[in-house]
Symmetry: D2
Subunit: 392 residues, 4 copies
Amino acid sequence: MPIRFFTAGESHGPGLTAILEGMPAGLPLTGEGINRDLRRRQKGYGSGGRMQIEKDGIVITSGLMNGKTTGAPIALHVQNRDFKSWKERDITPITTPRPGHADLTGAVKYGYRELRLSLERASARETTMRVAIGAICKTYLRQFGISIDGYVAQLGDIVADLADMPLDERIARNEDNDVRCPDPVAAEKMHAAIRQVKIDKDTLGGIFEVVARGVPPGLGSHVHYDRKLDGRLVGAMVSIQAMKGAEIGSGFENAGKRGSQVHDEIVIDAGGKLSRATNRAGGLEGGISTGEPIIVRVAMKPISTMLRGAGSVDLATGKPNPTVYERSDFCALPRAVPVGEAMMAIVLADALLEKLGGDSLEEMRPRFAALRRNRLEDLPMDNMPWRFGYEV
Amino acid sequence: MPIRFFTAGESHGPGLTAILEGMPAGLPLTGEGINRDLRRRQKGYGSGGRMQIEKDGIVITSGLMNGKTTGAPIALHVQNRDFKSWKERDITPITTPRPGHADLTGAVKYGYRELRLSLERASARETTMRVAIGAICKTYLRQFGISIDGYVAQLGDIVADLADMPLDERIARNEDNDVRCPDPVAAEKMHAAIRQVKIDKDTLGGIFEVVARGVPPGLGSHVHYDRKLDGRLVGAMVSIQAMKGAEIGSGFENAGKRGSQVHDEIVIDAGGKLSRATNRAGGLEGGISTGEPIIVRVAMKPISTMLRGAGSVDLATGKPNPTVYERSDFCALPRAVPVGEAMMAIVLADALLEKLGGDSLEEMRPRFAALRRNRLEDLPMDNMPWRFGYEV
Amino acid sequence: MPIRFFTAGESHGPGLTAILEGMPAGLPLTGEGINRDLRRRQKGYGSGGRMQIEKDGIVITSGLMNGKTTGAPIALHVQNRDFKSWKERDITPITTPRPGHADLTGAVKYGYRELRLSLERASARETTMRVAIGAICKTYLRQFGISIDGYVAQLGDIVADLADMPLDERIARNEDNDVRCPDPVAAEKMHAAIRQVKIDKDTLGGIFEVVARGVPPGLGSHVHYDRKLDGRLVGAMVSIQAMKGAEIGSGFENAGKRGSQVHDEIVIDAGGKLSRATNRAGGLEGGISTGEPIIVRVAMKPISTMLRGAGSVDLATGKPNPTVYERSDFCALPRAVPVGEAMMAIVLADALLEKLGGDSLEEMRPRFAALRRNRLEDLPMDNMPWRFGYEV
Amino acid sequence: MPIRFFTAGESHGPGLTAILEGMPAGLPLTGEGINRDLRRRQKGYGSGGRMQIEKDGIVITSGLMNGKTTGAPIALHVQNRDFKSWKERDITPITTPRPGHADLTGAVKYGYRELRLSLERASARETTMRVAIGAICKTYLRQFGISIDGYVAQLGDIVADLADMPLDERIARNEDNDVRCPDPVAAEKMHAAIRQVKIDKDTLGGIFEVVARGVPPGLGSHVHYDRKLDGRLVGAMVSIQAMKGAEIGSGFENAGKRGSQVHDEIVIDAGGKLSRATNRAGGLEGGISTGEPIIVRVAMKPISTMLRGAGSVDLATGKPNPTVYERSDFCALPRAVPVGEAMMAIVLADALLEKLGGDSLEEMRPRFAALRRNRLEDLPMDNMPWRFGYEV
């Protein structure tokens, strides 16, 4: 896997850090593209008060010279502006774990009773750095005409009506409203639903979709389980805080259909170009990209921190004690969309780098141009009588 | 990741091979446990003719002495009994790719026109070795009282009624019928549905569930994206041939609910034991096992190879040409259940080995016994006034 | 491999960053231990002017709360104090590559002509962060009574006379002088040799030794090539800038001897404790620690940047042009010692974490106490008649 | 790392297995090239009796169709012909560990008293599969004009006089005699020395050199410690059984010299081709290949199993007991040469695959042809005024 990265940092600590190793040299990179996605991650109806405090801005201290990557590891930093106030005031220990969060599981695993020791790291604040890294990967992919975008498809029980809306339109409209839903009618209902859970001091989740357009065929591989692009994408999505499931295209819905309704007919045009009449496979067959848009749908659970409280136990006393919070998000789904985009960008940049190899953008350009592209003429004729193995 | 493995082998080649690296020494292991799961993988209504030919039996040539593992890599072999006949007859080249399979994507990626070069490896025959490796991991887990089982929850559009059936009962009944569905009424309908698609020369998929019972709390971690157990489990499942989605518990359904309906209240009993009133989280919070059963649901698409054929193109001529097959499965869902179990067993054995460390079963036993188990008294009190980092 | 880390940062850029993933929770950690090793890395006769400018101090922004690690990734930062001046003045491009450095190889690999794009990262300034990470690993190892130390054994052609000096004494004296050589007579000659190469505008290298004491038997493994501790140690050493070779114990010298002169007799004392009469193996047999001190010797080439210049070519003009430098180190060997210590600490902490498993220091302590320690009674009797494999 | 492999198998078990993952499609491969190196590994003066018994022959059961690789994992098998006799006779337990071998360290690590449980795997018999995998990597490298060869440079205390013999000649003569030493005078002395240790029931080691010719510049990288080609090569060498040290070029000798005597002047010819006047760097600078031959020297200790016996302890009784053997090698150095070649071939094939990327030989050929080759004109002019990072 050519791309490797670590993120570090706690939610209320001094700041967040990430190192991205494996980006080729020569990629033009400013912080603005990154900051745009950082801002998208901080914007979305349903957030609590913190998003007013933090205005994330990226600082890059290595791997970038003269506005281009050098091939060296890229160090990224985002300050927690909130930290100053935390540094000075007295902090009350937190000992009542929230159901649904890593509070209790983290405490049991690592041996804490003060839950802040796990919750500070488990917080979705960490996704800031995934978005930053993802933005660099998007910049890389964009050099080859590949774009990654996402939108909300369902919020709580409100399902957007997207069946007849082409992908391009969904994407064009994904920033039209503060719930990131391309269906304006559904968007209004979603907005109202969030308003209501605020009143009810409850929370909501939902489903978002991320789409990659312009991906060449041939990324990923069928030859070994850990090289399959579908497993890698789905695993990356569910590694995001609060995500509980993911599917390629309409994986779960298609499971209820017949083969004849699901598989995408292969067609050829006059120029010898092979393509699909439909894209029910969501852009992947056999763990390999087909050349059609890659679509992943991700299920997010409702936020664990609920102002109404939840039944729990105070670990300091061993007595039942409901969780109590004063400030929290009510629905983070719209803000999760850029995080999902980031994870897809990282996985696809990784897969593209495997396919292209090399160390600089300049070295990769002719290689990309020469990729086989579902054209019959690209495929060598190799029909000799065949046999397996050696000496068997 | 302590456990590493490779599988190798083609569907009609001389045989299948796997190497499993990272198993501790001293694990009692015979081939019978493996063969039991291999047979389960070969049994299930909806299979085509091949399952009559192959009766898989494992051969272990290394890493095992005196009936116990030695800590050395374990080499596993399964012969393809079918191979003899393939060796002698003349093989017709296959040049019309099946929609839904890796035929075309593999050909484009690797530069073939003879599709056998990709389809032989992309075949689900490969899962034989995953099942074998998974059976060893199950044996390891069983030493610590952890069991892994699965069953069919939906086949085509027939949904089993499992809401009121306890997990233990679902598992007790999962081999009651040839569709591996614990709901006998649904099972009958599923059987009939497969019979009908056979007549229609079409195919079916569905949804299965895999459950791990007895898992201690604290496997996986929230601290880094690639250590989260939910992402690892879901990624492993979707790496299986034909799987298009996976969720922890009822991830997609819960995405439509409110937080107050989804999160699992934490309760404490008189002995200071913490547990959950419900298990909607599917056994994982913050990417860490809670100690409740881990439940993963997996969506399988209908089989790609359809006797009725599918629209495609003959790569030899460039002309439209429907796929033509004489022999194929109609529904492989029941047989996919042990494959899903295997992948879960591998991921959980890996996570348990991370938690326990060490090199032999004997070394691990007291470590397992000393694991923190959601008991208040296991958690050290550590509530000193706190601060972040150093010199910030 | 439980421990993973990345370093980032350029020699004259704004600063250095590292992230260390995999440290258990509960390790008491202040920056002072790290700073002590950072200062050791900056001190040693033979340095050029820069060491006067930089006084490295560590900042830790994550993974550390209340003075203890939390189990989360640890982000480390060192500012380049020099950066301010670099930010403002006009930088002359460097286009004449230095023989021996990554100047030309980096330029060819990544496609640069401005050599600063590779030399800034290739600089040994990067080892600052290895030393910082290594200091954390030393702190971890020290919890279990394991210590790592190093000293200079040869500088240029001056060989220290250490044959009769016990390891403990070599280590006790390793900071006695500014060339880090425990033999005071040799140390004086080494000092003089450096003084002379300064006059001659030339450079010197040499050989240092790193020793780990208190390592329990059983780290590493013979079962697979990439788990062998000797290969891992030697590979880590030669990954340090300017290192061209490494050996376990006196590997090269022993290659010229007979087996009867090299192998270490196994003896047993009255208490059933097995040990070795000698330690010519350097603490490793079969890629596994024996329980004796682990000794690695590392060969460092003379510094590539020479004030006298070296024959080269100006890439801007294509004309022969000697390299020209105004400021440089003359001999970095004494300062390389703590870097070697750091790499050994990282490899051994990794191997110990594999052996112990778990997530917190508290969890690991009883496991360490229970390790088998070359005592006969720890080894189970298991002499049943034996056979290989299954069904073979 | 594109190339991954596992080996499995015990010395006297039924056979050896390996799986190689990551080879591109389209590589012409027969077993003969592999068998040639397997035979070289079995031939060499100084072996004991076993080499008369085993005549290794490779069987390939997957990843190979029509005599070409398919891109799928390659499964390799070598039968242990000796096994049949072992299967039937009664085996005496071995309880007296040999100094120098993994007998005792393995027993302590894994918890055995019957030493066969570790020594069967620790045996150099395992290197058979490294040689097989290395032979495939050599075949891959040869497609691009890269060759890997080795020879003995020192055996016991007899040092071959190679200073004035060009590399090509050393390689041309490396199979001239049964000690694999290109210097015929030294070869005769080496032969005699082995004859003498046979009489003395003692053993010998020595130093061999492995050389890669035709390697393009730009493999490996300076940007991160684990991507440096020198560390990877040296680590791979010392992962071989009985190897205790390794150096790039004359690393240890050069450590005693001045910079002006060590570094290789850069020169340019009329055609703009940059090269080195000498190759003291052994083909690597900054962890990157220079384009000159890569030379690694490896120190092998004398064989641990000595007919004369060595002081040890019987673990069954706890009494001092010398090791007793009836059959053993006296000097395995000549036979270690092809093992060293194999490890270098694996590391370099891996590094070349990183550089080239892609999935088939056909895809890689134009990429290889376009590599930058130390020509001035290949390096883009990029001398703009420069700055570090973003927003710093």
